[in-house]
Amino acid sequence: MCMGGPSLMRSEALVEMRGIHRRFGETHALAGVDLCLRAGEIHALLGSNGAGKTTLVRILAGLDRPDEGTVTVLGEPVTKFEPKVLRAAGVALVQQHFTLVPTLCASENLVLARPDGWRVPRQRSARARLGALVERTGLTVRDDVPAGALSVGEQQRLELLRALDADARVLLLDEPTAVLTDQEAEALLAVCRTLAAEGRALAFITHRLGEVFAGADRVTVLAEGREVLSDELVTQHDRAGLASAMIGHQSSGAFTHRGGRAGDRAAGRLVVSGLRLGRLHGLDISVASGEIVGVAGVDGNGQADLEAALSARVAPESGTVAVDGAVLEPGDPRGRRTRGLAYIPSDRYQWGLIRAMDLADNLELGRVPRWRARRSQRRAASAPSLGHWDVRTSGPAARAATLSGGNAQKLVLARELDGRPRAVLACYPTRGLDPTAADTVAARLVACADDGAGVLWIGAELDELLAVADRIVVLAGGRLLGPFFAPYDRAAIGLAMAGVHDGEALQPVEAVGDR
């Protein structure tokens, strides 16, 4: 049970990184960064997108190598930057994008990552290993379904279990809470505390300031590859201070309130009627011109089905989606666009962009003419749009994969919101973005509504929805509850979010409202 050996005292530095430099071509991703992780402490790494946080932890996990600088783990200098070496030294990384084998179940994923000897362990011993680990850590995960069928929260727990299986002394978490519900995030932070109390050093990357205060002991803030705040105690800072360190100027930490447009409710621009698909039981929504309707709720209550049906990607079992009276044909994405529905997908890299293709091609996706212009002409033609939407890039010839998260989302916006859409379906449009980028995206969507579009915003962050939406409905258990109007009653919305939910071990309802 006791992880810390006798020699291991609290506050002993397990990891020391000194003067780390890393360049990717022109980009100076890390320009002399220090990081010290101590036993028993949780270290939060803050910074906007592209600040270098992920590169830093990737180096520490052996997935990348520094161009300059030294890394010492448990007193031993690291000379070979390979995952195997760093894993053996006791460093484990839980990556932002999961690395589970989706067709294997939890225990199989566990033993696959660290087999004993040369043969695959028997199912029974694999189960036993998982069971023992679950008991020790309190992280529950189902073992009777393939990992791909687990909820995001469970997949994350499994990733964490897998990291702990090797008894890692240093645990790195790359945006562990980005895909979690608030309850799951709180539970995760509690687990982190326990792990730290056992003598481990933890570091996690986050965009959410609240988590820093809720969970971390120390904080390092990166901006453009440099340290703004280095290894400081969290107790010496407040929200506003960290937020300004992160984005470089004083921020309220919350979204600018933009709601309160009346909209012309009589004439719905985006009208959903009697929609049934998967978890959705006959949904009716009508979004008026100039209105933003926020759909709040805990992920897994039909949000994915709603997105699939509204984007006309999947045919609903019954019901219709119409824009200005024109019904969308499922399986005809170009028809969706010509009818005036812009679609900002929840997963921009899966549904929104083709990473291996250049920006010009990505901008043309969905409206490619029968005969295309020459490549140089296409690229030249896309430059103004990239400039207008502030997509920061080396040029239209760059591949979409080279963009940071915020710029990738701006590229999606550039394509979808160009040409005045009649209605907008925005699914978690600010997910994984730093505050500045999130604010830009929100402003663009609000501008769309001001321009007369009907915007349906499916969101995870209640604060954000409260700030931008003119009306909020809650999707819970496949049904819509509400609507709620400003001034919003957080408690009522929180209750609605938990109302019909019958999922796995959730925290009490009250936690939802006041984050």
């Binding site: 990717f24 071509g25 022109e26 980009t27 991703a29 590169t55 990348d64 984007s311 990607r313 399986g331 005809d332 994405p333 170009r334 666009r337 679609y343 997908p345 899966q350 549904w351 929104g352 962009l353 083709i354 990473r355 291996a356 293709m357 091609d361 043309e364 996706l365 969905g366 490619v368 003419p369 029968r370 005969w371 295309r372 020459r374 490549r375 591949r399 994969a401 080279t402």
Partner: protein
């Protein structure tokens, strides 16, 4: 190999952070992934170096066999490059490889890994031959007969391939397997056809009638049939369609991210069927062109493996239509040259197969090294 490593580094700065490890199965998947990316220099250099390396190893084998590799290679070069005969034979041999290879290249761009070209080739040959030797039809004037035969064969190949695509779209059948299995059915259909269905009643062996008036004319001044000109004409056509037509964009985009295409441009089903139909049409065309241009009639032994060799041609050509044209000619030249060298030096006939296989191995190794140099493990 150090040369290409350096070239890779210089052409793709900073690509290491983005792309993840390849998820697709096998060689073709990796080629498809890297086609287009990784810089033009590397993608041309690797097959060229692979051919050189394979010939070097082949030279060692020739020396073991007791011949002087240099004189063997000199013979190969002179057999291909000197005289009208070498050119004509090479062009003739390249025709089916280029046609089928183009189809594969387009399908592999979409990461739809059909390997059933041989079956589509046979079905095209069978249907086309049945048409041009059919009662009533064989008396048509020459050009209508040739053209209608080509159309029938093309449609038959397209349908055969489209069937594998449809099975995949409708029932989730793996295209690799279903397209390959359809080769064996096509082979059996051919066996039945020449024994029974379209058999020449006056012949003692199992074969069709002479194709008679449907015989393809030769290109002026050569002994190559006009099918070669068709194949060469389709190369730029395919290149332009892939680069400038909406369909080409969709095919490439589907290969990179089917989900994004599905959500924004067109349903995935359409693309799968489209590439399968294109691949089958070209293979079917190759089948009739080979029958009416070279063989003169269809026999039970029509399956000589063009459909499989063309996979290598497509991959060596980096899934690029122009590259496929060059690779097809190169492969044909190798075959023709070795045939001549075999007679001259009494070499084992398997040697050309060994060298072809070595080329593939070296391309794979080269790609892997280039990938490692780029840092995407």
């Amino acid at each position: 190999m150090t040369v290409e490593t350096a070239a890779t580094r210089s052409t793709t700065p900073g690509a290491s952070s983005g792309s993840g490890p390849g998820s697709g199965p096998g060689f073709a998947a990796r080629v498809a992934e890297r086609a287009g990316a990784g810089g033009p220099v590397v993608s041309i250099l690797i097959p060229v170096l692979a051919v050189v390396a394979a010939l070097a190893v082949g030279g060692v084998l020739i020396a073991f066999d007791g011949s002087n590799p240099l004189s063997v290679y000199r013979e190969i070069v002179s057999a291909v490059l000197t005289g009208n005969r070498g050119f004509s034979d090479t062009a003739t041999a390249a025709t089916p490889l280029i046609l089928i290879g183009l189809g594969y290249a387009i399908a592999y761009r979409a990461r739809v890994f059909t390997i059933g070209g041989e079956g589509q080739y046979l079905i095209g040959a069978l249907a086309g031959t049945a048409w041009v030797t059919g009662a009533g039809l064989r008396d048509l004037p020459r050009w209508p007969l040739i053209l209608s035969g080509v159309v029938v064969a093309t449609l038959a190949g397209a349908a055969w391939s489209g069937l594998a695509g449809w099975l995949g779209v409708r029932f989730g059948a793996n295209v690799v397997i279903s397209s390959l299995m359809l080769v064996y059915i096509a082979d059996s259909a051919l066996a039945w056809g020449v024994r029974d269905g379209i058999r020449d009643p006056e012949s003692f062996v199992n074969q069709s009638r002479q194709i008679g008036r449907a015989s393809l004319p030769e290109l002026p001044g050569t002994t190559t049939h006009i099918g070669f000109a068709i194949a060469i004409a389709i190369v730029p056509l395919a290149a332009v369609l892939m680069a400038r037509h909406r369909g080409g964009f969709r095919i490439t985009a589907y290969g990179h991210n089917p989900s994004a295409l599905d959500a924004n441009e067109v349903s995935n089903r359409t693309v799968i069927i489209l590439v399968m139909v294109i691949a089958g049409a070209l293979a079917g065309l190759a089948g009739i062109v080979e029958t009416t241009g070279v063989n003169g009639r269809l026999g039970a032994q029509a399956s000589v493996g063009f459909g499989f060799q063309a996979i290598i041609v497509a991959l060596l050509g980096r899934l690029n239509p122009v590259g496929v044209g060059i690779a097809g000619l190169g492969m044909a030249g190798l075959t023709i040259g070795f045939e001549s060298a075999q007679r001259e030096f009494d070499l084992p006939s398997s040697l050309v197969g060994v060298i072809t296989a070595l080329i593939v191995v070296f391309v794979v190794v080269g790609d892997a090294l280039a990938g490692r140099a780029r840092g995407d493990r």
